[in-house]
């Protein structure tokens, strides 16, 4: 397990304080960091257990299935072993255990999983090892045990400091659990903690959100994920909104809270490096950066996705089916897609524009030169003049642009069979 080496991370750098020349140098270095040669990969493990299902959550998770946790851990190790031989030399530098509530696993469970990973994929190059945990559900001793196993980053699902909102959201913890668990994590030795927090919650005012953020900054995590609550299809929240029992805040409220976040957190040293993510210098989530940069990742567990640079595949979204398939010696993969060159490029756009550094129109989008890109996108660049900026070869969204990231990405999408790509397609990553 490598130490936290943040010096070469391309994010969390205070661009504003540098001269243009320095900035250009950083950009250049960043694009090298993003070049195929340097591309590293992540490992994701999905733990679908929760003590209770939250109102808004559309991740695959189940409550009251503690009976199969042991079986599940066995199956995960089986699935990892199944990947042996298919995986060629690949630099895995991040490991992320998400869910669900992975902190419900025992350290023993985690150890079994890690043993399998160590054997099959090797863990010595991992620099970031994240585990998600819920306030009130992770006692200090357990956290210490996780830390001793090599977990070096905790992601805590606070969601809110408001007791009423927490109750509405279906969370089991109260606001005091947040700070208690946070302090426990610090005592257990975690110096890299991320906190999830929600805005755009029905009943939430700007004042209420401001005090949440202030309380959070006061605690001082290294990383903050501040999400706008989204009504996902098929969630209980969706039904309640459709039935008129709950009214989502007006769009003006949502955008005001977002705007406040974008301006407040950087003031306290948290760089807005992605639409919903903020980090102190060097503390951007390297694992999630793999997703946003279109880099490869392996996924294990029900509903987990994998990507090798051109192909994406996913496991069955059903715990019982997953267990049954693995126990029967079968593959849990439910489907997959081979991305063509246009789809890959469109994903680069949709994901890369979420990052404050944006994407390189040459390296990422494959245009011969910046001028070439400009000539192809004259119309869009003009109509989105307030929303898009092109600095050197980096294309990124302005603050105003981030609010319309999806619309803009869709507008820049390519269609049809003949893409305007001049670069040779980069060879498929040798992952699976």
């Amino acid at each position: 397990m490598g130490d936290q080496d943040s010096s070469n991370l391309p994010v969390g750098i205070d661009y504003q304080s540098r001269s243009d020349a320095a900035r250009a140098a950083v950009e250049e270095k960043n694009s090298r960091a993003n070049s195929p040669v340097a591309s590293t990969a992540g490992i994701y493990i999905h733990v679908p257990f929760c003590r209770a299902k939250c109102l808004y959550c559309d991740f695959y998770s189940l409550a009251e299935r503690d009976d199969v946790v042991d079986r599940f851990v066995n199956c995960i190790t089986e699935e990892i072993h199944g990947a042996a031989g298919q995986v060629r030399d690949r630099r895995f530098d991040t490991l992320y255990i998400g869910g669900g509530t992975p902190s419900l696993l025992t350290p023993g469970h985690l150890e079994s999983i890690m043993n399998a990973l160590q054997k099959v994929l090797g863990l010595n190059r991992i620099v970031e090892f994240t585990l998600e945990a819920n306030p009130g559900e992770a006692p200090e001793e357990k956290l210490r045990a996780f830390r001793d196993l090599g977990v070096n980053r905790l992601s805590l699902g606070f969601q809110s400091f408001d007791a009423g909102l927490l109750k509405f959201l279906g969370r089991l913890h109260d606001p005091r659990d947040c700070s208690r668990t946070f302090e426990a994590a610090r005592r257990a030795g975690f110096d890299n903690i991320s906190v999830d927090i929600l805005f755009n919650v029905p009943g939430q005012t700007l004042q209420c959100w401001q005090s949440d953020l202030a309380a959070l900054v006061e605690l001082g995590p290294e990383h903050i994920s501040a999400y706008s609550l989204t009504v996902e299809r098929g969630t209980p929240l969706d039904d309640m909104v459709a039935a008129g029992q709950v009214c989502m805040p007006a769009e003006e409220v949502d955008t005001a809270l977002y705007a406040w976040t974008r301006q407040y957190l950087p003031g306290w040293g948290y760089h807005a490096y992605e639409i919903s993510n903020y980090a102190r210098n060097g503390r951007a989530c390297r694992h999630n950066l793999h997703y946003w940069r279109g880099e490869p990742y392996l996924g294990f567990g029900p509903a987990a996705h994998g990507f090798d640079g051109t192909r994406r595949w996913w496991n069955v979204r059903d715990l019982d089916k997953y267990l049954k398939l693995i126990e029967g010696g079968d593959s849990p993969v439910a489907g997959g897609e081979e991305l063509n060159i246009i789809q890959l490029r469109n994903e680069k756009l949709a994901l890369g524009l979420r990052l404050s550094r944006g994407i390189s129109v040459t390296v990422d989008l494959g245009y011969e030169s910046v001028a070439d890109f400009i000539s192809k996108y004259e119309g869009q660049l003009e109509s989105w003049a307030d929303h898009l900026v092109l600095v050197g070869e980096q294309l990124s969204l302005t603050e105003q642009g981030t609010l319309l990231a999806d619309t803009i990405a869709a507008d820049l999408f390519l269609e049809g069979r003949k893409p305007a790509l001049h670069r040779k397609r980069r060879p498929p990553a040798a992952l699976l």
Partner: protein, 601 residues
């Protein structure tokens, strides 16, 4: 005298009353084609026709039937188009026959189309043979339907044949009745040549092919053909009769039904109802009943992508090869760019053309709301014809606007009489009379502005009568109306293709309804989009589409990337079907939504 062993007839029936199935039985019983060759509903050979269960192009066929008297009779079955749009075409097909089978569904009873076509047949002096079909259905009401038929054509109940084309029951009896009741054709084989053109088709190798009914004289290869409507002459290459395909013959003489190929380049020169004669036996008198083709419904057709303009033009050219009733002229819209103003016989005709353009030529089109042709008397007394609302002169320069009227025939079960009458009233109809065909069928007559009929009349008629009412109409001329032009402005600009001519009492309600509807279909953009309705310079309604403030996925990690990309790809594809109007993107639905707006809204 023409041949006594010939019978020329057609089948009059409402959609789905079993015309095609009966025709199939005839083909089987006369051994015109083997069972192996039998394709279901052989006479409808266009895909669209089969899908919609309707006949668009008339398709004649010749059969030989051995009667109980031991003689072989030649039957020419002339299939007729089965829709209100094609009344004139139907009347010319009828004029080519001496008799008609009046086919009525035993469960549905007499419908409007049956009635109007029966009247057309009677006007053309056709002998009617009434037939009740689908007698095997559990819900057949044979006695009630008999009453309706007796009332309609004044026959005896005992004259009515009962059949099931599906099972074949009673079909033989129909063939016998054709011989016994339908007279052989008259006409003089030695007289001056007159052939009635009742349809045409286009053969890519041989040009336009005339479908004719010989009335007098004869036609054969080598003669010089002439037509009354156009001053041209053609040398006849081939004449023949219709089996499943064209079958060359030595000659066509009085009473025959057949085809003529004479190197005619364009079906437009073969007008339905025109008379074909020859140079050496030139008739002085044209056959009665000819009317030049007159489009009744107009719409603008615009390619979504301006690069498709030439493709649209060549596609229309191609369709017109086989459809002389389709007319189009180039048109420019400030909103939609270059397109064509197209004239159609009616709404169905319009839909079929539009569907074929999209399906067969892979075009993405915007169709502007259909409208009728107005006669406008300007202040200086000049009469102009306006077939596009955008071309309507300024209100100050108009002395009078006249709009086309139709006489409509509506048949409904009495339960829905109230609803149907209310609908006709809403549609500015003037009531003529009511007539009970039987206790279960009422016939209503109204005179209505055509503009109201082409505008959701059919859908509303079906809904007020739970699908039981049927209607048919006939153009009766232009009449003055208190009409105004309603303009729609988007972001301050008049969208010329959304302009409509409507009755002055409807402008306010319609303007509000349209703005509301457009607000629903125009999606939010980077800036506020204001939608207004205006008559002249007066704004009568206003709505606004708020700017899109936020569209960004909050959480985006590994598992959701495929889903997210697909979502954005769909957004992107949707954008491709939008029309850019200044800065505003307008979806195609906006141009269609105008159709869905009712006066009452």
């Amino acid at each position: 005298m023409a041949d006594q062993l010939v019978r020329n007839f057609c089948i009059i029936a409402h959609i789905d009353h079993g015309k095609s199935t009966l025709a199939d039985r005839f083909l089987e019983l006369t051994h015109t084609l083997t069972t192996k060759e039998m394709q279901a509903q052989v006479l409808d050979d266009m895909d669209l026709e089969r899908e919609r269960g309707i006949t668009i192009k008339a398709h004649p066929i010749r059969m030989v039937y051995r009667h109980t008297d031991g003689k072989d009779y030649v039957f020419n079955l002339i299939d007729t188009p089965g829709h209100v749009d094609f009344t004139y075409e139907v009347s010319r097909s009828l004029a080519a026959c001496e008799g008609a089978l009046l086919l009525v569904d035993a469960a549905q009873g007499v419908e409007a189309q049956t009635v109007s076509n029966a009247y057309l047949a009677i006007e053309n002096d056709l002998q009617l043979v009434p037939v009740i079909n689908k007698a095997d259905l559990p819900n057949a009401r044979v006695d009630d339907v008999k009453t309706q038929i007796v009332d309609l054509i004044g026959c005896e109940e005992s004259d009515i044949l009962i059949t099931s084309a599906k099972t074949g029951q009673g079909v033989e009896a129909i063939l016998e009745a054709i011989v016994e009741h339908i007279p052989p054709p008259g006409g003089d084989p030695d007289g001056d040549t007159r052939a009635l053109v009742f349809d045409s088709t286009y053969d890519s190798f041989r040009g336009a092919v005339a479908y004719v009914r010989m009335v007098d004289g004869c036609l054969k290869k080598g003669l010089t053909a002439e037509l009354f409507a156009h001053d041209r002459s053609y040398e006849i290459d081939e004449v023949g009769i219709f089996r499943m395909k064209r079958h060359p013959a030595e000659r066509l003489t009085a009473g025959d039904v057949g085809y003529v190929i004479a190197g005619i380049k364009d079906v437009a020169y073969l007008e339905v109802g025109d008379t074909l004669t020859t140079a050496d036996s030139r008739a002085t008198q044209r056959l009665p009943g000819y009317k030049p083709i007159k489009p009744m419904v107009f719409t603008g057709l615009y390619p979504i992508s301006s690069e498709d303009y030439e493709l649209l033009r060549s596609s229309l050219d191609r369709l017109r090869l086989n459809d002389a009733s389709l007319s189009y002229v180039p048109e420019t819209s400030t909103a939609l760019g270059f397109g064509f103003r197209c004239g159609f016989l009616g709404l169905l005709h319009m839909e079929i053309v539009q569907e074929r353009l999209e399906r067969e030529f892979d075009l993405n089109l915007i169709t502007t709301p259909p409208n009728v042709e107005y006669e406008v008397v300007t202040d200086d007394g000049e009469l102009i014809r306006v077939d596009s609302p955008a071309d309507m002169p300024h209100a100050g320069a108009i002395r009078q606007i006249r709009e086309p009227y139709v006489a409509a025939e509506i048949i409904t079960p009495p339960d829905y009489l109230g609803g149907v009458m209310k609908l006709c009233q809403d549609k500015r109809g003037s009531y003529k009379n009511t007539h009970y065909l039987s206790p279960s069928k009422v016939q209503l007559r109204y005179e209505l502005p055509l503009a109201e009929v082409i505008f959701d009349f059919f859908d509303r008629l079906k809904s007020v009568s739970r699908g039981y009412a049927s209607y048919d109409y006939e153009f009766i001329g232009h009449r003055p109306g208190e009409l105004k032009k309603l303009d729609i402005l988007i972001a301050g600009e008049v969208v010329d293709t959304l302009s409509r001519i409507i009755h002055k009492n409807h402008t306010n309600a319609q303007g509000r309804a349209l703005c509301k509807k457009l607000k629903e279909v125009i999606h939010r953009q980077q800036f506020e989009v204001v939608i207004q309705a205006a008559t002249g310079s007066r704004i009568i309604a206003r709505e606004s589409v708020k700017p899109l403030r936020k569209n960004v996925t909050a959480k985006c990690y590994g598992g959701d990337i495929t889903r997210k990309r697909k979502l954005l790809e769909r957004q992107r594809a949707g954008k491709k079907r939008m029309k850019q109007l200044g800065r505003v993107e307008i979806p195609q639905e906006a141009f269609l939504s105008i159709m869905e707006v009712e006066h009452g809204d």
